[in-house]
């Protein structure tokens, strides 16, 4: 049977990790959204060199493991004199990695709005930026929300790599509880439960949004 005294006796340690996992996920979401929007705009802006930079970013980052990016910031940068804590390095890596997926989601959303609308807006005298802001983006946002929600769930799960680089998250504190109690099995069952408490409601929420927004189309 699972020994609940482990959870009760180490609740503070678990909660500290849980809190940091939530922090890392929220900072990661905001960071990746900002970078994602910038990259998406670069990819669709009518300026060729920007398109290339955006495409290289998305294709390169999407196709390498998150762990390499995290190690780059945690192990690689100190080699050239920049030292970051595990939490900071991990959160930056999460933002950079997730941004590539969010950028693609946003680009797909914007491009799903018929081209004629941009042409109509431009010929009614709106500038490119105005047309984007007032005509295209409000329609695109509906299509983009569910995939971004899915990326957020991935982000929460991926934040567990902070555990590898001493990032003070749930995985890291799980390790600490496990070395205090000399128990592994039960300790990690509780770690899993803490993750599920975050991710299951998020998946249900995203599933609900997907259905609702699909109905409106």
């Amino acid at each position: 049977m699972i020994d609940f005294s482990i959870l009760i006796n180490n609740l503070d340690t678990y909660l500290e990790g849980f809190k940091n996992t939530i922090f890392a996920s929220i900072i990661g979401l905001v960071g990746s959204f900002i970078i994602g929007v910038i990259v998406a705009v670069m990819r669709i802006a009518p300026i060729k060199p920007l398109n290339w930079i955006g495409t290289v970013y998305v294709e390169f980052i999407r196709n390498i493991p998150l762990l390499i990016i995290a190690f780059f910031f945690y192990v690689g940068l100190p080699a050239v004199g920049v030292t970051l804590s595990g939490f900071v390095a991990g959160t930056i890596a999460l933002s950079i990695y997730t941004a590539s997926f969010i950028a693609e989601a946003i680009r797909a959303g914007i491009q799903s709005v018929p081209k004629g609308q941009m042409e109509a807006a431009r010929s009614s005298g709106l500038t490119y930026v105005q047309a984007m802001r007032t005509i295209i983006l409000p329609q695109a946002i509906k299509i983009v929300i569910p995939p971004i929600g899915n990326q957020f769930i991935n982000l929460v799960k991926n934040s567990s790599i902070l555990g590898i680089i001493a990032g003070l998250d749930l995985m890291y504190f799980g390790d600490i509880v496990s070395s205090h109690t000399f128990v592994t099995f039960d300790v990690y069952i509780f770690v899993a439960l803490f993750y599920l408490v975050l991710t299951i409601p998020l998946s249900l929420g995203v599933g609900y949004l997907e259905k609702r927004l699909a109905r409106n189309h």
């Binding site: 999407r62 790599i161 590898i164 998946s203």
Partner: protein
């Protein structure tokens, strides 16, 4: 930085060995996950009372857990209850458990994308439900599953790097051994390792896109 030292022939050979194991572990895992995923996905799709619900709960629970936790658990926690696995077997088991849940959803999505009218038509022509699934729905669904499965394989190749925590001698692990010798090796090794992953995954993503656009 010491590029020539970091990328000596021996080191490149060592990285290539690691990458070979990465590909091997990922490939075995995706094949096993495909078999289990087909089974779980079909069970969930078929709406069998109780069974489909149990499968749904199982699949959703695994999908919502970090893979790192599953790898960690398989290698460090299972021995506590008497299940001792070698590093490679533990890595393949953990990846298979996680990917099976992912593929089960892809399979279910593929099955759901087949028009319901076809099932009704097949049933009224006298086929049993199982026959309908096997001969009418599955062949069409399988074709649509191929691009998402290739994408999932890309994720799996990337995620295999998480096996560093159990010291599986795959690409990331071997890279760590090389750059641990000398601080000046770190950046060049990272760049080469990133490029190795990138080249293989980018080619796979082009294949996935090709297949997707051909179906559309």
């Amino acid at each position: 930085m010491d590029i020539t030292g970091a990328l000596s022939a021996d080191h490149l050979k060592f990285l290539a060995d690691g990458f070979w194991l990465t590909l091997y572990v990922a490939f075995i895992s995706i094949v096993l996950s495909f078999i289990i995923g087909i089974l779980l996905g079909t069970l969930r799709y078929a709406k069998i009372p109780v069974v489909s619900k149990v499968v749904a709960v199982l699949v959703e629970t695994i999908r919502n857990m970090p893979l790192l936790l599953i790898i960690f658990f398989t290698f460090f926690a299972l021995p506590e209850v008497g299940i001792k696995l070698s590093v490679t077997v533990a890595a393949i088991s953990a990846l298979t458990v996680f990917e099976s849940a992912m593929l089960a959803e892809i399979v279910r999505g593929g099955l759901n994308s087949v028009d319901k009218g076809q099932i009704e038509a097949a049933r009224s022509s006298g086929l049993t439900y199982i026959q309908t699934l096997r001969t009418i729905v599955m062949p069409q669904a399988l074709r649509r599953m191929v691009p998402p499965i290739v994408s999932q394989f890309i994720s799996l190749l990337k995620d295999t790097s998480l096996c560093v925590i159990v010291a599986l001698p795959e690409l990331m692990h071997n890279a760590q051994i090389i750059y641990a010798q000398n601080v000046n090796y770190i950046i060049p090794v990272f760049i080469v390792v990133a490029l190795m992953y990138f080249i293989v995954n980018y080619c796979l993503s082009l294949i996935a896109r090709r297949l997707e656009s051909r179906q559309a």
